[in-house]
Every structure is written in structure tokens, then in C-alpha cells.
Symmetry: C2
Subunit: 351 residues, 2 copies
């Protein structure tokens, strides 16, 4: 028997399946090459953990929502938004793969290389296709919400939430670009603001709020979910920063050299930069050929200067604030019960 979670996730997949089938049909009528782009975009959108749709569903059902089709559609919209943002983020980061698999740019680049096109031209083809594909996913996200049959006030609030998520993510992405280029290392507060805007808003706050709005929840509940989402979302990002340097590569599937080699502006680096240990750490941040031994040295310094402690303390702090929000009287028991494990899952990643 399927768990309720699996069944809901399949409903989201079914919405996306319909969305892509229709788009591919329309695109193939223009040109088979255009149909291919949709095919590649679809491949880049399936297979994820459907994390954002799960948050929409969790909030919606715990608040008594019963229109599963509408809920799946809102979940699918946030999944498409996620696709749009990572496709364009990969263009900005000049990444040609994600989780070891070619992304949109990578698929288009590889196909061109195989056809004998030079690497710079092939990479440019990949980037171009990804700019276009991201635009399509972005406009697809609002299309899915527009297709809702709920009342117009509700629909318009959902579209506002989506808009706010796009607005925040774009700002966060820009800050990420700017912070990484600035000669001085940003402060911990600047890194947290950037991470919140870039990821926490669209990954946590917006899906939870959307689920609540669709369920017809009171403003107090929606506001509390926004706050909860913010705290947990920030905690999640700091966990990510921590795992990027101190993680178990087998468990995370991510190298612990990557963040250091690309000189990523993390909470760890931002904190360390304001300590005396910075002089011993700085030469290795952004060193593209950083060795395993050098990384070990950096890790030891990040521990001794207190950066690791600070990150762990911040994670606990934000997680506790998130849990405190769940303790408020306006949060129904069902909702508390479904959201508490999310905080625990986030914390479990670093424990």
C-alpha cells in the first residue's frame, strides 16, 4: 500500500506530466527541435525529491484542505519555479551538470560536442538553451497557478506569493554574484540575508504559505508559517554550508572540497574572516587546485577559530525559533505534528 505521502507526490507528478505533455505537443508543432528542448527541461524537472510540493501539501492538508487536485497543482507550480531557478543558477555558475547528471546546458553542450562542434561553441549552445528553458519553466509556474479553479481572491494571493518568491530569489541570486566578486569577505549577517533571499523564501516560506492560503487559513497562521519557513530555511542553508566543508561525502554525495575551491561565501568563511586565523585560512579559499591535505588544514582552522561552533549555534538558534513559532496558539495540533519532523530532519543532517 502506498503511504499518503507517496500518493500525494504522484499527484504532483501527474500535474507536471500533463503540463509537459501539452507543452511538448505545442512545441513539436513549431519544430521538433523545440519539442526536444521541452523534453530536456522535463528530464531536469523530474527525479527531484519534490521537497517544495511536499511542504505545500503538508500545510494544506494539516489545515483541513481537501481539494487534492488544486493542492497538487500549487505544489507543481513551486516545483517548476525550483526548476527555473536552478536552470538559471547553473547558467550563472557555468555548471554543466547537477548531481552528476548533465543539466540543460550540459545536455545541449554534449550533443553539440558529439556532433563535432568546438567546445566554446558547444558550451555557448548549452548556455543559450538553458537561458531559454529557464524562461519557459518560470512562466510555466505562473501558468499552473492561473489554471487553478479556486476563487479569484485566493488565486490572486497565491500569485502574489509566487511573485514574492521570484522577487526574493532574484535578489538573492544577485547578492550571491556580488558578494563572490567583492574583494572584502561579507559579514555573517550579509551571507545569511543572501541565503535567505536566494533559497529560504522560495523553498520554505512560500510553499508553506501557499498551502495555508489555499486551505483558507487565517492570516495569523499564514504569517506564522512565513516565520517558521524563514527560520527553518535559514537553518537549512547553514547546514548546507557546514556539510559543504565538514560533511560526510558518502552521505551527502557532494565533495567537501567544492565550496572551498570555488571560494564560496559561506557562514563559515564570513565568520573566519573576522578572526586572527583568517591569515592562515585566506590563501586556500578559492584555490582551485586545493589538495585534500590543505582542505584538512582549513577545516582545523575553521574549528579552532570558532567558525564551526558559530555555525552549529546558529543552526540550533534558528531551528529553536522555528519550533517556538509552532508552539503558538494559532497553530493547530495537526500542523505542529507535521512540521516538527521537518525541523528534526534538517537538524539530523548535521548530527
Amino acid at each position: 500500500m502506498k503511504t499518503s505521502n507517496e500518493a500525494r507526490s504522484e499527484e504532483v507528478d501527474a500535474v507536471l506530466d500533463d503540463f509537459f505533455s501539452l507543452a511538448k505537443r505545442r512545441a513539436n508543432a513549431v519544430s521538433q527541435r523545440y519539442g526536444d528542448l521541452w523534453e530536456v527541461l522535463e528530464r531536469n524537472s523530474v527525479g527531484g525529491k519534490r521537497f517544495r510540493p511536499r511542504l505545500v501539501i503538508a500545510a494544506y492538508e494539516a489545515l483541513g484542505g481537501e481539494d487534492r487536485e488544486a493542492c497538487a497543482r500549487v505544489g507543481a507550480a513551486f516545483e517548476l519555479l525550483h526548476t527555473a531557478l536552478i536552470v538559471h543558477d547553473d547558467v550563472i555558475d557555468r555548471d554543466f551538470s547537477r548531481r552528476g547528471i548533465p543539466n540543460v546546458s550540459g545536455s545541449y553542450r554534449d550533443e553539440a560536442t558529439t556532433a563535432g562542434i568546438s567546445t566554446p561553441q558547444a558550451e555557448h549552445r548549452g548556455m543559450s538553451a538553458a537561458v531559454i528553458a529557464g524562461d519557459l519553466a518560470l512562466s510555466g509556474a505562473s501558468r499552473l497557478l492561473l489554471g487553478l479553479t479556486c476563487d479569484e481572491v485566493c488565486k490572486s494571493r497565491l500569485l502574489d506569493i509566487l511573485d514574492e518568491a521570484i522577487f526574493a530569489s532574484a535578489g538573492g541570486e544577485l547578492l550571491d554574484v556580488e558578494l563572490s566578486l567583492a574583494p572584502e569577505v561579507p559579514t555573517v549577517a550579509e551571507v545569511l540575508d543572501m541565503e535567505r533571499a536566494k533559497t529560504a523564501v522560495y523553498s520554505f516560506e512560500a510553499p508553506l504559505m501557499a498551502g495555508a492560503v489555499l486551505a483558507g487559513a487565517d492570516a495569523a497562521v499564514v504569517d506564522s508559517l512565513e516565520e517558521f519557513g524563514r527560520e527553518v530555511g535559514i537553518a537549512y542553508q547553514i547546514v548546507d554550508d557546514l556539510l559543504g566543508v565538514f560533511g560526510d561525502e558518502e552521505a551527502t554525495g557532494k565533495t567537501t572540497l567544492g565550496d572551498l575551491r570555488e571560494g564560496k561565501r559561506t557562514v563559515l568563511v564570513a565568520y573566519a574572516a573576522a578572526t586572527d586565523d583568517w591569515f592562515a585560512i585566506r590563501p586556500f579559499i578559492g584555490k582551485s587546485d586545493l589538495t585534500v591535505a590543505e582542505a584538512e588544514h582549513v577545516r582545523a582552522r575553521l574549528v579552532s577559530c570558532g567558525a564551526r561552533d558559530l555555525a552549529e549555534r546558529l543552526i540550533d538558534e534558528h531551528a529553536s525559533r522555528g519550533l517556538a513559532v509552532l508552539g503558538r496558539p494559532e497553530i493547530p495540533d495537526d500542523l505542529r505534528q507535521v512540521l516538527t519532523p521537518i525541523v528534526e530532519t534538517v537538524l539530523a543532517r548535521v548530527r
Copy 2:
């Protein structure tokens, strides 16, 4: 005294002004750097000829529409869509200026270069900012339509027209990328299909249809405007191809070497490639250091092989078909009177 056209154009500007003021306020609350991005995006969106809004207004008013505020808002949405598409088109073409003025990428690149950042990093910063800015303009276009106070059926049809325009432009942009990379030169029909999808739909068909829908016009009128827009839009693109090689540089403000040097797949090149003259033309198509004398040689061959004649004939053909649509009984006199000069303006560019 202001002409009615100028007054309407100012109403569109006022909508965009409000839109950008609000966005800048919201962005500055996140970070001044984010406010700056909106400032640059706004600069890239003002100063155009407001061509698409003018089409919206022409159709709307000739069909008896009287809600000038709503009409200005729809016009502004198409202007923002235009901004989004050219900002991303410039990313794809790796252009850092438009009409001699730095575009979004160019502004961000130049600022970084001035601050002492290396050219590749500065260019990458420019491209990144432009990917983000284009996303914001794209989602802004639907926001403007969502803010309409017209009835929901009308709003939803307008959003469908916008979606169709985004869908077609993305397909056209992809085909443009693909045709320019393919070893074989495309056929005239392939070039026309690409140009129609990339530009004619969002620049001609969609604005005219949107004006008519907002005015509450019959389906027959809306369909005829789509057809009219397609014919005139295609004619316009062929005129562009022709001017790009045979134009008067002073009148167009565009070099007549550019298209040849970048090896652009135009109607001229597509036609020539199927003639015996191609062997004499081919070496110069895409020759990045093409001289004035070589360009003269290519022009003479494009004339002798019949490519120029073909282009002129196609322009006349599509323009005539457009005018024939205007002669249909469902097109009111007022609409015919306001649209006929548009066809004449398109033709006048090559006469």
C-alpha cells in the same frame, strides 16, 4: 498640444514608472545592490519607441475601447515582455550594448572593469545580472496583466495571449541558435518560421490581439488581427534582413557589415545557398573581418543570384496579404484606417 499618440504613450510610461518605482522600493529594502539592478533594468526599458504598446492602443481604441488606464497597462506588459526578451537575447548573442548604449550586461561589466575586475570576470558578472534582470522583466509582464481590473474571462484570455507570445518567442530564439550552428544553411521557409516565432508573434500578433480582446471584440476580429499581425510581422523581419545588408547605414543606424560578419541566417543567405552563386558567396558569410570591398562583392552576388529580388517579392507578398485581411467585412473602418499606415511604414523602410 499633444497628439493623441503622444498622450497614450505617456500613459504607458506612467504605468511602467509606477511598476519600477514599486519594484525599486521593494528591492532597496532587500539591498541597495538589488535596487541598482532594477534601476539598470528600468534604464533598459525606457527610451524605446513603445512600438508594441502603440499596437495595443491602436487596436483597442479603434475597436471602441475606452478604459485608457487598462489599455496602458496591457501596453506596458508587452513593453516589459520586449525588455525581457531583448535582455536575454543579448545574453545569448553575448552582446554588451544595444543601439550603441551599454545594455544590462554592458552596464554591469563596465562597472566591474572600472573597479579593476578582470575582463572575463567582469563579463561574467554582466551576463549573470542580465539573466536575473530578464527573469524579473518576464515575471513583471504577467504581474502587470494580473493587476488589471477587467473581468476574469478577459484577463485570462490576455494572459493566454501573453503566454503564447512567450512560448513562441522562446521557440524562435532556440531555432535561431540551432540554425546558426547547423553546418547546412537553412531553407527560406525555415528562416521565415524562425523569424515569425522569434519576433512577429510577440511584436505584432499578440499586442494587436490583446488590444482587441480588451476592447471586447468578436473572435473573428481577434483572429483576423492575428493573421494581419503575422503577415506584417513577417514582412517586417524580411525588411530587417534586407536592410542589414543593403540598408542605408545613416538611416538605419546599423552597420551593413554586421549580419554578414556574424553569418546571420537571413532570407537572403538562405535563398542564395540554393543557387550556383553560393560558392562565390559562402567564403564571406560569417567572415568576422569581412572588408567593405568583400561586402560589396557579396551584395552584387546576392543581387545577381536573385536573393534581393526574392526578399523584395516576399515583403510585397506578405504586406499584400496583411492588407487583404484588413479588407475583410469584420474589420471596422476605424481599425482599417489605423492599421493601413503601419503596413505602409514597414514598406517605406525599404523604398
